[in-house]
């Protein structure tokens, strides 16, 4: 009972610190460990977990609680959650402190100006990476394109569009 919890903690604790650029960065590593090394889930189960954690509200990295739950029930889910988010949250807090201390520094404004276009580029990059990470067929592309235009240029409710997206694929499939 304890051994799988330790394995979960070690795996996700390590991945937490490797996830440069966000949680999706470590999905391939996570899949290899959960499916091939520890045999916690089958490959189709892992894919379903991925889809659930992506479609559900909240961070996509919550996929770890599904793996933890499969391995060791609720204790497994809790350990997975703490291991995946604890280390990176501590680092983020440290970064926030450093940033706060530089509040009055002149260089901070330049850093902010320099980071802005990079951050915007990364929003596009994550959208592109998500498209390439899933098997996007032409229907999904059409839905993504329509959603992008509507959300960028109108005040339509995103929740409504999410429902519409599900409906369109169900009817078109």
């Amino acid at each position: 009972m304890i051994a799988p919890l330790i394995q979960l903690a070690l795996l996700f604790g390590g991945l937490s610190l490797l996830a440069f650029g966000g949680g999706t960065a470590v999905i391939p590593d996570m899949q290899r460990a959960a499916v091939d090394i520890h045999h916690w889930t089958t490959a189709p189960e892992f894919l379903a977990f991925f889809a659930i954690s992506r479609a559900a509200p909240g961070p996509g990295s919550l996929i770890v609680v599904l793996i933890g739950q499969k391995v060791a029930g609720v204790p497994g889910a809790v350990v997975a959650l703490l291991a995946m988010f604890g280390p990176s949250c501590l680092l983020a807090y440290g970064a926030a402190q450093l940033w706060h201390r530089a509040a009055s520094a002149a260089w901070r404004q330049h850093v902010e100006r320099a980071l802005a276009p990079i951050a915007i580029g990364l929003t596009f990059a994550s959208g592109i990476a998500l498209i390439r990470g899933t098997e996007h067929d032409w229907r999904a592309y059409a839905v993504t394109a329509a959603a992008t235009l509507l959300l960028a240029f109108t005040e339509v409710s995103p929740l409504l569009l999410l429902g519409a997206g599900a409906a369109v694929l169900l009817l078109a499939g």
Partner: protein
């Protein structure tokens, strides 16, 4: 009544966010952010609806949250919570963001594992794909909105494009992209600042 003289005149302090308001704000984000694209929902709530941060502060937090390893949007919640209210703010934001989605995902996961064997459940996968496709659109639309508001000039646009292509299309590791792009972008900002300064220009 006059503000205390020690306040710097140039910077407007953000509206004070109470801990319950932080919790509720991130609870709303956690509840409404179906399908990922969480940063977009965070910006909607924190910048557009509550006005705790302006776009530049948000973008800085967003970029910082990408530099730190870990789930970007969770890091962003930590950064915003810390900036607004310190450690209690961090805990309030994290709790608001994670509690309900975690519980929901555990229930759905348990149901999925039980229903997995039963036939006739493929439509759930299709519906999830459709929602995912819209969620990606939400990400891209946020990029469009931010670019229209915050990008001024051709050089920052090039920096943005290079980042998007390098990370998204060419799949170069983020760290390597940043090592090249960030010094470039910083140099650009310093150079433009110097040029504007010598022209007596006063940017905000």
């Amino acid at each position: 009544m006059a503000p205390p003289a020690s306040l710097p005149a140039t910077s407007t302090p953000p509206p004070r966010a109470s801990l319950p308001a932080l919790f509720r704000g991130f609870l709303a984000i956690g509840l409404s952010s179906f399908g990922g694209g969480l940063a977009a929902w965070i910006r909607r709530e924190v910048v557009e609806r509550r006005g705790w941060l302006d776009d530049r502060q948000f973008l800085t937090g967003y970029a910082l949250s990408q530099l730190v390893p870990g789930a970007t949007n969770v890091n962003l919640a930590v950064l915003i919570g810390a900036q607004l209210r310190g450690v209690p703010g961090v805990l309030a934001a994290l709790a608001g963001l994670m509690l309900v989605p975690t519980a929901l995902i555990l229930v759905v996961g348990a149901l999925y594992l039980r229903a997995q064997a039963a036939p006739g459940w493929a439509w759930i996968g299709t519906a999830l794909t459709g929602m995912g496709a819209v969620a990606i659109g939400l990400n891209l639309a946020t990029g469009v909105r931010l670019a229209r508001r915050s990008l001024r000039g051709a050089m920052p646009a090039l920096v943005m494009l290079a980042t998007a292509i390098g990370v998204g299309v060419l799949r170069i590791p983020l760290f390597e992209v940043l090592v090249v792009i960030f010094p470039l972008s910083l140099g650009l900002s310093l150079w433009q600042g110097a040029r504007q300064g010598s022209r007596q220009g006063s940017h905000q």
